[in-house]
Amino acid sequence: MDTEIVGQSPRGRSLHRFANPGRFLRLSGAVLPWLSVGALITVSFGLGWGLFFSPADYQQGDAVRIIYVHVPAAWLASAGYLSLAICSVLSLVWRHPLADLAAMEIGPVGAGFTAVCLATGSLWGKPMWGAWWVWDARLTSVLVLFFLYLGHIALVRAFDDPTRGHRAGAILALVGAVNLPIIKFSVDWWNTLHQPASINFTSAPSMAPSMLWPLLISAVGFTLVFAAIVVARTRAAVMERRIRGLLMARAAQAEA
């Protein structure tokens, strides 16, 4: 017994522990209620603070409040795509079955957050810039991200054999990942109408603390909402696959 455990690489073992769908269902079933309640509380606190109690901006007035929805949605659109890319690596290299299902379920959620980001950005752009939409590098690259999500959603469901769909989707997701640094750095590499990032890791945020805190709390809330939806969808997908397996087995038995 001991030699067997030592013989296995620790990395492979820990990865495949979560490949067991039964274990995933038990673990996620225990976590999901807490995750959902935490997400609801954080997002209502962050948005409530941001939309009603934070100060108005010195030049944008109350229109600045859209930042508490727009920026977290934009962060999650990118972070969601990053998680999609990570699932795709796990799926292509380690053939991780749960990663396939997770990638399939992340797609629509990420597309939804990207749509929120684009819509709120457009609503913000009209009063401040004077245009609903411009073709600058930041806006265009985020629109490309939205189309990548839509393409992934369509591609993973386009094959009769789900495995082939997951392979094709994973390759598309990884090719599209090249867009992520372009989105992030578009405002630094080229002239854009969109302003550069207010918050980065190298200097002080160019936001007053009374506006920064509600934004960060709202971003944590959006992250928890994203995670809760993806976990719930992946659970449903695992159970769906189980039920399909059971029905197939029963049908085969009845035929025999």
Partner: protein
């Protein structure tokens, strides 16, 4: 294990190839990816008569609002090194003012002025309440007509004090 490792290496190789290809393409198209050109680039005159976007700050003291007898608003767009006179008749965005960033769409005229048919306001990445902005102006740290607010590090630590908390 070897097959997994091989797949990982293939994936890494593809990633490096794709990444460098993208970097090369973006570098090659660099001139076309910018949303606007600066007055310095515009002054070189290569874009005469073509529809382009000019971006920069509205020069302090240069705005002449349209009124009786003159339909167009006149102002100058500057990037510090060069400035170009712009005429525009239409509704200006709310954020338009001296010292503010703008992007104007239009064409350079033979007389060296720029005739705009669209004016967009560009705001910077600074967000602060009115009280903080007032405190900065009062203490002389920031003159709004001269450009964007000072770097965040110089005022963000003082912001809670300025709010009177």
């Amino acid at each position: 294990m070897t097959r997994k490792r091989r797949r990982l290496y293939v994936l890494l190789a593809c990633g490096i190839g794709l990444g460098s290809a993208t970097a090369l393409v973006l570098t090659a198209f660099n001139d076309n990816l910018v949303f606007f050109v600066s007055p310095t680039d515009m002054a070189k005159g290569e874009r005469m008569g073509r529809q382009v976007r000019l971006g920069g700050l509205v020069e302090k003291g240069s705005v002449q609002r349209g009124g009786e007898g003159r339909p167009a608003t006149l102002f100058r767009v500057t990037d510090g090194a060069a400035s170009i006179g712009v005429s525009y008749s239409g509704i200006l965005p709310d954020l338009f003012r001296e010292g503010q960033g703008v992007v104007v769409l239009g064409a350079l005229q033979p007389d060296g002025t720029f005739k705009a048919n669209e004016v967009l306001a560009k705001h910077d990445e600074t967000y602060m309440p009115k009280e903080v902005a007032e405190a900065l102006k009062k203490s002389g740290q920031w003159n709004p007509g001269a450009g964007p607010p000072p770097p965040a590090a110089t005022w963000n630590a003082t912001a809670p004090k300025a709010e009177g908390k």
